[in-house]
Structures are given as structure tokens and as C-alpha cells.
């Protein structure tokens, strides 16, 4: 089928490559430029989000020494969570690398709807600005936790951050959802419709499968959050009681609300919240597959099994949200169902893990920076996943709920796993982005700092949680929790190490952009389609449409003795 595309904006944009600064770098339609824009925005937001964690980790390790009030503390953890999940990991991994590599890996000139793609980036920019601006309004930013559970988030007078800060939080999140939905629509349409000749679905790199699956998950789950946000806004500003129960007392005053239930918000929130974990984790795993295959010089083990496992995880991920709510007052019989369905996810995830590790079987591994991050990702998924088994079991979760065990677990999954995948992807595709390679020494330093820092922080937090240390506490004063809390200075020091390594990355990223060593077309000798384009690829990616003639991971093939074949080779 001839690819068709005819909207007026493109015609107006002209048929030449854009040459002006504004149309080339700012309001570009080029998916690669938009991808890099997302990455840079994520870097800025990452500095803020991670900076907040440095601030409150200081308070936890040395109470009172961080110049932080209890109100500041809850605001900092709330905003850290929100910014990191939605404005750092989502923007860098899903939007940034996704935009960059989807058309390149499937052999398309650009996204299906480049104008919409540009708009989704320029929609998220005010969203990010509003989120940051909410720090500076009266009462500070939102402080009801990144989950924004009512009644704290529904009553503007409930806490200092529940006023304007919470309203701006909701507004920024609404903008984020719009931008992410537009992006997801583009991803799905691009992957289904713009694959090059010969690029059948089962010849797509696993990265593309994961982006497709995560876009589908996003389109199916974010609307539930939109519904929750609409009702929350009405509760906050219209006086309704969707989420507010009868006989609620606030500062000694009986509220007039009747008939609502906070449990409803939790259901709607986690109907998004749980799939969101897979939206962020799966593309990271997909990138790891590509990087592992290229640097192990072996085809991915069990390509079909992996694709099957990814779909199974996605499906199960949609129906397990209640495991976040075991102690919420939900019917205990539901807990049984959510427990079992959650534990079943272990099976496809284990299959995925076997495929990841199996790819390394008898390989002569090249330990370059992207590969190190891909290997780190396997470790993070495994370690975090084991904690998940305990949390999925309703009986164990009664103890672990809202402790640092949960904090350690989900940071390993959506924090470390996703960012390891993101970094693997950035180091791997950097030559394609800028025609230069990133500095290997700094990259390895970055990896060691990240790996050691994050693993000490989050594994130790598991033990602190078992010791009874609950989340979102400004200071631990009770006698029983003192032994667990005594580990806080250690955790904080390693958190500083992890944060410091990210600064190394930022220096490396921006320095290499202009001064890195020149890269060839295919510096990793990889087989997928993006390596047949120029480095950096021009607007439109290829002059001639590539024709795909084989599977994505053709390592160990090749008659001329070089041991690998591009996807376009006969």
C-alpha cells in the first residue's frame, strides 16, 4: 500500500529541508529533533526531581540539618515522585527515545502525523512549567503524595499544599495526559502503518514491540486518570462529593460533603497507575534486548517468546491494579483475586528474564557503556521483581504496605530499570543522534556510580521497610524504628553518589554533542534498520526507501565472514 499523507501544514512547510534555526531546532517536525527536545526537557526536569530527593534524603539522614520543614518534606516527596515518573522517565524513555527510534527502526521517514508530534512536545512544555511553578504558589506545591489521594487532595484547606499547589498539579497532569495521548496515537499509527517494505510485524526489533505495547497500554489506561481528575476538580472547585465521604471532620469542623468514597479515586488512579509501571518498564527492557544482542553478537534468544511474554505482561498489567489497595478497605475477596493475578505476572516476566539472559549464553560480550547499562537493567529487573513477589501477596503486604520496602521495590522497577534502559538507549543511539559517540570513560564512571549508588540505596530500603520504617515520615522518633532508621545516613550517602553520577552523565551528554569522537554510520556493527541511515540521519532519514529482507537480529550470519548482516542485506 502506498503510504499516503496529505495535510495542508506539510505542504505549507515546503518540500525542502528546513534551514532556519527555529524550524530546524525549535518547532521542528522531525521526529529525531523532537526526540532530542524531549530528552533535554527530561534532563532539566530530572535535575529538579532528583535535586528534591537530595534535599529530603539529607533531612532523613540528619534531621533538622536540611533547612526543611515537615510541610516542605511532604511536598518534596510528592513532587519528586510526580516529576520523576511523569516528567523524567516518561519524557526521556517513552517520548524521547521512542520518538527518536520508532521511525528509524521501522524504516519510516517520520511519524505518521509529524505536526501532531510537534504539538505533543509543545503541549508538555507548559505542563512542565506549571508543575515547576507550583512550588512557588502560596502553600507550596502539592503535598498529598504522588498518588494524590483524597480527601487530602480534594479539600483545598486540608493541608498547605492542598490549595493552589494541588490545583496546578492537576492542571499540569491534565496537560501531560493530553500530550502523552497524542504521542501514543502517533506511535500506534506509525508502527502499524509506516513500516518499510518487508518489515513484517514479526521482523520488528523488540524495542518497537515494547513501544507499541506501551502506547496501547497508555491509551487504554490514562483515560481512567482523566476521569478521576475531572471528578477531583469538581470535588475541589464545584463542591461535589465524588470522593468525599459523609461526616468528614477538618480542623474540628464537620464538612457538608455526603455520599462519596475515597476508595473510588484509588481504583481509578491505580487503573492507570499500575499499567503506567509497564508503560515505563517495558520499553526499557526492549532497548536492553537490542543493546544486548548487538554487544553479545548473538540473536535475541526466544524472539517470539519475548513478544508473547510482553503481550501477556501488558494484559495482566491491566487487571491487577487492586494490589496497591490491599489495606484500603477494599473487599478482602478482591484482594485474593488481585494477589493471584499479580503473582501470575511473574511467569511472563520470568520468561522475559530467561530470554534476556539467554541472549548472553556463550557470547563474547563487548563491555561498552550501553551494554553495561543493559546488564544493569537485567539485575535491576530481577532484584526489584523479587520484592514484588512479597508485595503481591496480600498477607505479606499487610506488613510491607507503605513502608520503605515498597519504596525500595518500586524505585528498582520504575526508577532504576527504566533509567538503566534509557541510559543504555542514549549511549547506544547517541551516534545516530549527533554523529558523535559519548565518552566511554565518563560513561563507565556514570554506570559504576549509578549501579552502586542505586543498588545500595534501594536494597537497604527493603530492609528498613521490614524493620517497620514507614513512608512519608519527616523524622523517625519512635523507639522501635530506631534500628532501621539508623541506616538512613548510609542510604543518603549512596543517594548522593547516585545523584553525582547523573551529573557526570549530563556533562558527558552535552560535551559529546559538540566534541565527541566522530562516529561512523554503524559504530556498533548492529543489524537493525536505523544503522543503515547516515549518522546523524538527515530529515527524512533515507534517500531511498529501505527494503527489509530478514530478521532484526542477524548476528552469527553472513557468508563473507564478518559474522553479521544488516536487516536490509539479502
Amino acid at each position: 500500500m502506498a503510504l499516503t499523507h496529505s495535510h495542508g501544514t506539510d505542504a505549507a512547510h515546503g518540500h525542502d529541508h528546513p534551514s532556519g534555526f527555529w524550524s530546524k531546532y525549535i518547532f521542528s517536525f522531525d521526529h529525531k529533533v523532537i526526540g532530542v527536545q524531549y530528552l533535554i526537557l527530561a534532563c532539566i526536569m530530572g535535575l529538579i526531581g532528583a535535586g528534591l530527593s537530595v534535599w529530603f534524603r539529607t533531612q532523613l539522614a540528619w534531621p533538622g540539618k536540611a533547612g526543611m520543614s515537615p510541610e516542605n518534606y511532604v511536598m518534596a516527596v510528592t513532587m519528586h515522585g510526580t516529576i520523576m515518573i511523569f516528567f523524567v522517565v516518561s519524557l526521556s524513555l517513552s517520548s524521547g527515545l521512542g520518538n527518536f527510534c520508532i521511525p528509524l527502526q521501522i524504516g519510516a521517514r517520520d511519524m505518521a502525523y509529524p505536526l501532531l508530534n510537534m504539538l505533543s512536545f509543545w503541549t508538555i512544555v507548559p505542563g512542565a512549567a506549571i508543575m515547576v511553578a507550583s512550588f512557588f504558589v502560596e502553600g507550596g506545591g502539592a503535598a498529598g503524595g504522588w498518588t494524590s489521594y483524597p480527601p487530602l487532595s480534594a479539600l483545598p484547606k486540608a493541608a498547605p499544599g492542598s490549595g493552589t499547589g494541588q490545583t496546578l498539579w492537576l492542571l499540569a497532569m491534565a496537560i501531560f495526559v493530553v500530550s502523552f495521548t497524542l504521542g501514543g496515537l502517533n506511535y500506534v499509527a506509525t508502527i502499524l502503518n509506516l513500516r518499510a517494505r518487508g518489515m513484517t510485524l514479526m521482523r520488528m526489533p523488540i524495542t518497537i514491540w515494547t513501544y507499541f505495547i506501551s502506547a496501547v497500554l497508555g491509551l487504554l489506561s490514562f483515560p481512567a486518570l482523566t476521569a478521576a481528575a475531572i471528578m477531583l476538580l469538581l470535588d475541589r472547585h464545584g463542591g461535589t462529593s465524588f470522593f468525599l465521604p459523609s461526616k468528614l471532620i477538618l480542623s474540628g469542623q464537620l464538612q457538608t460533603n455526603t455520599g462519596g468514597t475515597p476508595l473510588l479515586f484509588q481504583h481509578l488512579f491505580w487503573f492507570l497507575g499500575h499499567p503506567e509501571v509497564y508503560i515505563l518498564v517495558l520499553p526499557a527492557v526492549g532497548i536492553a534486548f537490542d543493546v544486548l544482542a548487538a554487544n553479545a553478537r548473538r540473536p535475541v534468544m526466544g524472539y517470539k517468546a519475548s513478544v508473547f511474554a510482553l503481550w501477556a505482561i501488558a494484559f495482566l498489567g491491566m487487571i491487577v491494579w487492586g494490589h496497591h489497595m490491599f489495606i484500603s478497605g477494599m473487599n478482602p475477596y478482591l484482594g485474593k483475586y488481585f494477589s493471584i493475578s499479580t503473582l501470575i505476572i511473574t511467569a511472563p516476566f520470568a520468561l522475559l528474564g530467561v530470554c534476556l539472559l539467554g541472549t548472553l549464553w556463550r557470547a563474547r560480550i563487548r563491555f561498552n557503556t550501553p551494554m553495561l547499562f543493559a546488564l544493569g537493567l537485567i539485575s535491576a529487573v530481577g532484584t526489584g521483581g523479587i520484592g514484588g513477589l512479597f508485595l503481591a501477596t496480600a498477607t505479606a503486604d499487610l506488613h510491607f504496605h507503605d513502608t520503605y520496602f515498597v519504596v525500595g521495590h518500586f524505585h528498582l522497577m520504575i526508577g532504576v530499570t527504566s533509567l538503566m534502559g534509557t541510559f543504555a538507549g542514549i549511549y547506544y543511539w547517541f551516534p545516530k543522534m549527533f554523529g558523535r559517540t559519548m565518552n566511554e570513560t565518563l560513561g563507565k564512571l556514570h554506570f559504576v556510580g549509578t549501579m552502586v549508588g542505586t543498588f545500595v540505596v534501594f536494597t537497604v530500603q527493603h530492609f528498613q521497610g521490614m524493620g517497620g520504617m514507614t513512608r512519608r515520615y519527616y523524622e523517625y522518633v519512635n523507639e522501635y524504628v530506631k534500628p532501621a532508621a539508623a541506616l538512613n545516613p548510609l542510604v543518603t550517602i549512596f543517594a548522593f553518589i547516585a545523584f553525582g553520577s547523573q551529573l557526570i552523565f549530563l556533562v558527558n551528554f552535552f560535551w559529546s554533542m559538540f566534541a565527541g569522537a566522530k562516529a561512523s554510520k554503524n559504530p556498533w556493527e548492529a543489524t537493525t534498520l536505523e544503522w543503515t541511515a547516515e549518522s546523524p540521519a538527515g530529515h527524512g532519514n533515507w534517500n531511498e526507501p529501505p527494503v527489509v529482507r530478514g530478521d532484526p537480529y542477524r548476528y552469527g550470519e553472513g557468508a563473507d565472514g564478518k559474522g553479521w548482516k544488516l536487516q536490509t542485506d539479502a
Partner: protein
């Protein structure tokens, strides 16, 4: 449909940018529209599930046939479903290359939408003016308690649906004008039609769950 490549920027001289066949042979705008509608269905689904959640938990609920005139709601529903039929006719006319009828039936569909909106406005006026309902106060009925959630869900769900109908009317007017001038092919009319049928379908669910059950 032009043979221009995805990005549309240059390279036209190299010929068509051939692509692998798409599942169901759907073009990308149609794929996007379908996925948008699936997402929007989840949004309405969430609102309706929330309504069910609250209603099951509520100690009391009001009998809908005492608050609303069910005959009137039936006429509303009939109007909207009829507009789906005119929409289908418009798509068929557009496919047959009959610009005039494509425009005419798209406009008729918009008229159906406007009629529905008018009745919606009457419904709201009836609730607010006659029953004294507010966003936070239930309609007053002799012998029944005040159920604020009855009003809150009414205004939220019908308001949200009504805003979809309203945007649909604008889309239809725009599509109708373009169809007459030959600025959009059958696909443009079909895309507007997909959206319109979806809005109608949602109303069937709203009618079933909010008014009937």
C-alpha cells in the same frame, strides 16, 4: 490520496515510499481515530463505573421516571440515533463521489446533533429550574431524601457527553462544508462519522445505565 511520503518533506523525486501492508488495510488517520475512540470509551467507561460504584454504595437513590419524563428522553435518544443513520448516508454518498448529498446528509446529521443539544439544555433547565437541583443538591422529590450524587453524576456525565456532541457538531459542519467543496475525500467524512457514531453509542450506554437501570 497522494503518493507523498510520511514526512512530506522532499524526496518526492525518489518515488513512492512503499510500506508494508497494514492490518485491516486501515489508513493511519483511521487507525488514530479508532485508538482515540477506544481511549475515549475508557474515559466514559470510567465515569459510568464510578457512577455505578457510588450508586451501589448509596443508601438511597431517586426513581428516574419521577425526575425525568422518560418519553422525552426516548425522543432524545431517537433523535441522536437517527442522526447516526443520516451520517451513514453521508459516508455512502461521499464514497459514491456525490458531493452534494455528502454535504447535505452531513449537515442533516449536525441538525440532529443540535436538536439533541437543545433537548439536553431543556433537561438541564428542568432539573435546575423545576426540581431545584444543583451540582451539590439533588432534585427535590416529594417523599424522597436529598441525594446529591444523583445530581452530581447527572451533570457530570450528561455534561461531558454533551460537550462531545457539541464538538461533534462543529466537526460535522466543518466536514460538510469541505465535502461540498471537494476538499476532503470519503475518508474525511468517514472519520467524522466514526466520531459521531461513537458519541451516539456512548449515549446509548448513558441512557441504559443512568436513566433505565
Amino acid at each position: 490520496m497522494s503518493g507523498e511520503a510520511a514526512a512530506g518533506h522532499g524526496h518526492a523525486a525518489h518515488g513512492e515510499w512503499e510500506c508494508e501492508p497494514t492490518p485491516f488495510k486501515a489508513s493511519w488517520p483511521k487507525v488514530m481515530m479508532w485508538w482515540f475512540l477506544i481511549g475515549d470509551a475508557v474515559l466514559f467507561g470510567s465515569l459510568l463505573v464510578a457512577y455505578g460504584f457510588n450508586r451501589v454504595a448509596a443508601p438511597a437513590w431517586l426513581p428516574q421516571d419521577k425526575v425525568f419524563s422518560m418519553n422525552f428522553i426516548t425522543v432524545m435518544t431517537f433523535t441522536l440515533i437517527t442522526s447516526s443513520a443520516t451520517m451513514a448516508t453521508a459516508v455512502a454518498a461521499s464514497r459514491a463521489g456525490d458531493r452534494k448529498n455528502a454535504c447535505l446528509f452531513t449537515m442533516l446529521t449536525a441538525v440532529g446533533g443540535i436538536a439533541f443539544l437543545g433537548m439536553q439544555v431543556y433537561e438541564w433547565w428542568h432539573m435546575i429550574g423545576h426540581h431545584g437541583a444543583r451540582l451539590t443538591v439533588g432534585p427535590k422529590l416529594e417523599g424522597f431524601p436529598d441525594v446529591p450524587a444523583f445530581s452530581a453524576y447527572f451533570f457530570m456525565i450528561t455534561g461531558f457527553h454533551g460537550s462531545h456532541v457539541l464538538s461533534g457538531v462543529f466537526i460535522l459542519l466543518y466536514t460538510g462544508f469541505n465535502a461540498l467543496r471537494g476538499r476532503n475525500g470519503p475518508e474525511g467524512v468517514e472519520l467524522a462519522g466514526l466520531y459521531w457514531h461513537f458519541v451516539d453509542l456512548v449515549w446509548v450506554f448513558v441512557f441504559g445505565t443512568y436513566y433505565l437501570i
